[in-house]
């Protein structure tokens, strides 16, 4: 510390040729006086004040903007959407975590809203999503659904391609001998979904497999409040494991 002070003193001494002091307080007062005398006035005080304030204001604004990005008000849609993306992927394309986390990008808004409500009412069993849906207001749910609908990243992919042909057959034609309806009838030929019927195009392979395999254990769990998930029950039940994998692989590559 003393090194710094003596250096600054040396600097000032260099300017003023000669004068030195001993006490700290003396240095400060002396330096300020010297400084004022030293600097030629190039700008009016008022302008300097305005400049200084403007610079400070800009600096704080920048900092505030950065703070705003990072700590965007916890209640804002942007903040909540960013939170969804922490698990569901940077463009909500889905992510194969320890558990497969589904694609939300391009999903039907009515379906998304229904699922969040279902999590909230424990009609759809998922501990994590119930906890999350619990914190979302209806307005927030609608806003999130609208934003997610607009996203359109390419599918994550990764499913075994050799299953595609069989998967397409099941998707387009169903398996009539096993009383499995054609998925296309409700989900549409390229699986875009419509209204409350979900988009399947680009959905994660392991996620679709998990859903079809565990349909009855996860959906329609509140017997007192039956919901439209019952429509899928007979289908999920009748599909064999290889058929599930085939159709899951097929839809996972659809755009």
């Amino acid at each position: 510390m003393s090194v710094i002070w003596s250096n600054s003193l040396r600097h000032l001494n260099g300017r003023r040729a000669g004068e030195g002091t001993t006490s700290l307080r003396g240095i400060r007062c002396r330096n300020m006086t010297m400084a004022r005398q030293r600097e030629p006035r190039t700008m009016p005080v008022g302008v300097r004040w305005v400049l200084r304030t403007a610079i400070l204001a800009l600096a704080f604004a920048g900092a505030a903007a950065r703070a705003e990005d990072k700590f965007a008000s916890r209640g804002s849609v942007q903040a909540k959407l960013s939170f969804c993306k922490d698990c569901h992927g940077t463009s909500a394309q889905g992510y194969a975590g320890f558990f497969p986390i589904p694609r939300l990008a391009g999903q039907q808004t009515e379906y998304l809203e229904n699922q969040l409500r279902a999590f909230n009412e424990h009609r759809r069993a998922n501990n994590i999503m119930s906890g999350i849906a619990n914190t979302l207001s209806p307005a927030m749910i609608s806003a999130l659904a609208a934003k997610l609908r607009e996203l359109n990243p390419p599918p994550v992919g990764g499913a075994p391609r050799r299953l595609m042909a069989e998967g397409k057959r099941i998707f387009d034609d169903g398996v009539p001998e096993a009383n499995v309806a054609a998925c296309a009838a409700c989900h549409g030929p390229d699986a875009p979904g419509v209204r409350e019927i979900p988009r399947l195009a680009g959905q994660l392979f392991p996620y679709v497999v998990k859903e079809l395999t565990n349909w009855g254990k996860e959906r329609g769990q509140n017997v007192a409040k039956p919901d439209t998930s019952f429509i899928m029950s007979p289908i999920a039940h009748s599909l064999t494991k290889p058929q599930i994998e085939a159709v899951a692989a097929y839809v996972s590559y659809l755009k």
Binding site: D173, P176, N179, A181, C186, G188, V194, R195, I197
Partner: protein, 205 residues
């Protein structure tokens, strides 16, 4: 003539082979129930119809002959619909008959949802036709109550979106069937008139 044991065995074997491939011959009640449940997946609870990606028609209360004709038409690909072709061509005649009868007995409320503003116009067309366009009154074949008769289908409670789509695309899907009788009618109706009459019948019970 004395039939040897070997000949009997052979005969039995032949008969066994003949019937082995034919699961249809043994359609049980539970098979029909399972098949009905399967139909309902798309056609809705109590076959009331369902708005999937495509509008899927109400089958409840439908004329038995009409359902039989349609299923046959699908199976023979005279009525072109890929999904229904796959459904239809695995059905035995006995199964078709059983299903048609089951559907006929169902009577859920109409799904509804059509724009009510069109009802007045729709009723006018349904009961009076569009004389200037050579469109006969629907009542003449489909009945005053739109419940149909024999091979003429029930329209009462049919999905608005389905009737609209059918009338708009009639010849694309049905030109090779008996229902080609509808072709000039479908062609004679304007889009607005189609929507009106579709809305009207969709609310009939």
């Amino acid at each position: 003539m004395k039939v040897s044991a070997l000949q009997s065995a052979l005969l039995l074997a032949v008969l066994a082979f003949a019937f082995a491939g034919s699961t249809h011959a043994e359609d049980t009640v539970s098979d029909v129930q399972a098949k009905l449940q399967y139909c309902n997946v798309c056609h809705g609870i109590s076959a009331q119809g369902f708005l999937g990606y495509y509008p899927i028609p109400r089958l409840a209360g439908q004329q038995v002959d009409y359902i039989k004709n349609q299923l046959q038409g699908f199976a023979e690909q005279k009525r072109t619909n890929n999904i229904m072709f796959n459904v239809g061509h695995v059905l035995s005649p006995a199964m078709i008959a059983a299903l048609a009868t089951s559907f006929h007995d169902l009577n859920p409320k109409p799904l509804g949802g059509a724009p009510k503003a069109l009802l007045a116009e729709g009723k006018k067309i349904y009961e009076g036709g569009v004389p200037g366009a050579n469109v006969a009154a629907c009542t003449s074949c489909h009945g005053e109550d739109a419940k149909g008769n024999g091979q003429f289908p029930r329209l009462a409670g049919q999905l608005y979106a389905y009737v609209s789509l059918q009338l708009t695309n009639w010849s694309k899907e049905r030109s090779e069937t008996l229902s080609s009788v509808m072709t000039p009618i479908a062609r004679g109706l304007t889009d607005a008139q189609i929507k009106a009459v579709a809305a009207y019948v969709s609310y009939l019970e």
